[in-house]
Amino acid sequence: MFQYVLRRLLQSIPIFFGITLFSYVLMAAAGNPVAQLVFRPGVPAEERARLEIQLGVNDPFHVQYLRWLTGDDWMRRDTDGDGFADQCVVLACDADGDGQNEQPGERRGIIRGDFGLSFTRNRPVSDIFWERVPATLELGFASLILGTVLGISAGILAAVTKGRWFDNVTRVFAVALTALPIFWFAIMLLLLFAVQLRWFPIGDRCRLSLDDSCPPIWERWNYMVLPVIVLSVGAVAGYSRLMRASMLDIIHQDYIRTANAKGLSSRLVWFKHAARNALIPVATSLGPAITALLGGAVVTERIFNYPGLGLTSLTALSQRDYPVVMAFTIYAAIANILGYLLSDILYGLIDPRIRFN
């Protein structure tokens, strides 16, 4: 077990590097935003050139990538404490050639969680990230629970009533929900329940307050109802299909025939013998479910003005605030990798027949 987890973690290292490389290439292709910030009118040309060299804008691509990935605190170190670098690897100590060594590097690089400062907010990106995580987590967890419970029960009932009206309705709904553009679904829910019936608020995470804080979740549950419904649509559709198929696979197996032959009630056979084993393949879909939730959060948070990761990254994208966008993309990808790992481990824990070697 431990070996298996370790091996899977090692396998995800190249994928992690692939993700950072992909994001970095995209950021570089977007034109250097650092240069745009530095090149304000009124900055003299020699000052620009000096800043450019200090920021390393003109360094070769692989050096810039390495610096972004691993930071520059190990590239330029200050050992004698005079405020200037004196031990340098990869980068030159005196890059601009003015006879004075540069200041020591302070960036720790993204592999140590340092995504730099946000361009527009002038704060560390990781602060912004951790500030926004709770909103997305509460939406995500609530939707995952709602989606799993609804989807799995619908799938079991559909399999039990195979060919009858409940089964047919569930199957039609499952296809319809996959074809449903969730942003339109969200708008329709808002139009009906928030604008016409006024049952729920039209958006936001809680009532506006002076210090931007929100009361505990049970005092603002009405703000969560509509976004959670929207975000769980995909999970309901996916889990009900998966569970139905998995149940129908199981009921032809010998142990179910034995259970029936023993004279057990069909309720016991379906819901205890069949459903428990049918849940095994469903556990593996946790990884894809997490990816779908993170993607859906972007649209949902935008429509309901819910201040989580999705809304923040959309705003950052339209402001070309790349450090924020990079951080959120990479964190989302890591969550995704961990989700897949978790579902594989769950698979093994639930089903003792699966060996990890």
Binding site: A30, G295, V298, T329, N336
Partner: protein
Amino acid sequence: MSEKSLTPAPLLRVIKTAEPAAKSQSLTTKALRRLRRDYLTLVAMAVLLVITLLALGADVITREILMTDPEATNPSVRLLPPGSPGHVLGTDDLGRDYAARLLHGGRISLAIGISGTLLTLLIGVATGLIAGYFGGWIDDIINWVVTTLDSIPSIYALLLLSTILTRSPVNLVLVIALFGWTGGTRLLRGQTIALRDQEFVIAARAMGASAWRIMFVHILPNTLSLILLSLGSGIGGLILAESTLSFLGFGIQPPTPTWGNMLGNAQQFFSRGPHMATISGLLIFVTVLCLFIISDGLRDAFDPQSKD
């Protein structure tokens, strides 16, 4: 030994042809018969055909019947409800004819869906064939790229890519294809691995066929049915992706209408123009639903294991 194993074959053929020929039916005939009885799929095909024809005739219909232009603004007729004189489906917040914009928007959505899927499949099929056939380090590299791209939530990657390129329809197709080809690779890679050691491939190799010839002349045609069946759901998925991007403001930019960007500011006009929030989204939903139903129906009809 070799003589013995060869003799039964002609005998078998004689016995087979001796049976009445009328009973044998090709897979296609059977599939078409099954399809004719699948009313849901037939209805979906009819609806999709109507939507496609309307979208294809967008220019003519707007000019000759609606007598308007999808991008002509008129502040005096803002937010008219559906059924207003001169504007069958009303107008939007800038006084543009809503029906005309829907028709033109549908044309762009369908065009992006179809061209995007074709381009996606082209990349996916090529990489999948290469990875599956050659295996080894080539397979490892392609697999690495595929798993990397798959582990980035697609909306993040699409949004990122779309900030780099200027937001024209052609670039949007490129963005979607650059990111969405991994599904095709997975499909083709698995199929190619299953086929590459079969007798007909070994025979072709023995006759001196080159790797490329084996891949594209011998293996590819055997996967064609799977590729064609994935077209429907592929187009549907891409229409959803395009409309989501355009809705978020990172896809096709106004004034060019698409079903997605027509919903972009619908929330601001909930009370005065609710039709702006309903109709174009409904059209996306119906179109994608039809494509998924047709895709499922065709898969069932052409499944050799399904019974009559």
